[in-house]
């Protein structure tokens, strides 16, 4: 997926180190206020006082899981967050992070340290900035047709 020189690029080289985390008991409206102020579209959810990452909330989650369903803006984060956010580590290669985004069809990974505390966020845009070709391949993967989960009766997998 990438040239030889890209193998040396690590997640830590491109990730955003400024991480705005929220608590599971924060509300949709408080997360929206934080996103409006900071301009970020995804925030990791951490255990208060411990710092372990439990999941992630995106602006899209607020729109599709709270607003669209008619839930109150006071709905707590734990009710609509994505549990166990996909993550990577600072020392991971950019290629590995890109592969994960490609395979999981996601645009962001939480970067965690050894204690599973948030050390940063790496987004598809960060990858595209340093390697547009790799970013394009990830985007293609994200946009590929979803696999059909339900197997038709009478068909085998091989």
């Amino acid at each position: 997926m990438a040239g030889h020189e890209d193998k040396m690029v690590r997640v830590r080289d491109v990730m955003s180190r400024q991480v705005f985390t929220v608590s599971p008991t924060d509300t949709a409206q408080s997360v929206a206020r934080l996103m409006a102020e900071t301009g970020v579209g995804a925030v990791p959810v951490e255990t208060p006082g411990v710092g372990t990452i439990l999941g992630i909330v995106t602006d899209r989650d607020i729109v599709t899981s709270v607003v669209a369903r008619g839930l109150s803006s006071s709905t707590a984060v734990f009710e609509f967050m994505t549990v166990a956010a996909e993550s990577c580590e600072e020392d991971d290669s950019l290629l590995l992070a890109a592969q994960k985004m490609h395979d999981l069809r996601i645009r962001r990974l939480v970067v965690v340290n050894g204690k599973r505390h948030a050390a940063g966020i790496v987004a598809l845009a960060d990858i595209s900035r340093v390697n547009p070709e790799l970013g394009g391949l990830v985007l293609e993967g994200i946009n590929r047709p979803a696999p059909v989960d339900t197997q038709l009766e009478g068909m085998s997998t091989c």
Partner: protein
């Protein structure tokens, strides 16, 4: 500064008219409400609440100090304040 937050012991619910409800339960969120979503531009209680939020976020005061100051600022701004502990 906004990367840090300190949770309150209890939420404060502010109502303005029939269609606007702000539920605030942390110091950072209170700071953002005061900064971006407040109906009055200036006021003694608002300034005090800002200062209290900054102290708390910096770890120089307890979270409920910011909460108490925020309630005063909400009263100054003529919000209807709902809170069990005042």
């Amino acid at each position: 500064m906004l990367t840090q937050d300190r949770l309150w012991s209890e939420a404060v619910i502010l109502e303005a008219g029939e269609n606007r409800v702000l539920r605030v339960q942390s110091t950072r969120d209170a700071f953002l409400c005061l900064k971006n979503h407040w109906p009055i531009a200036d006021g003694d209680a608002k300034r005090n609440a800002f200062a209290a939020c900054e102290r708390v976020i910096d770890g120089d005061d307890e979270p409920d100090v910011a909460r108490a100051a925020f309630i005063k600022a909400a009263e100054e701004a003529q919000f209807s304040v709902h809170s069990w502990t005042g």
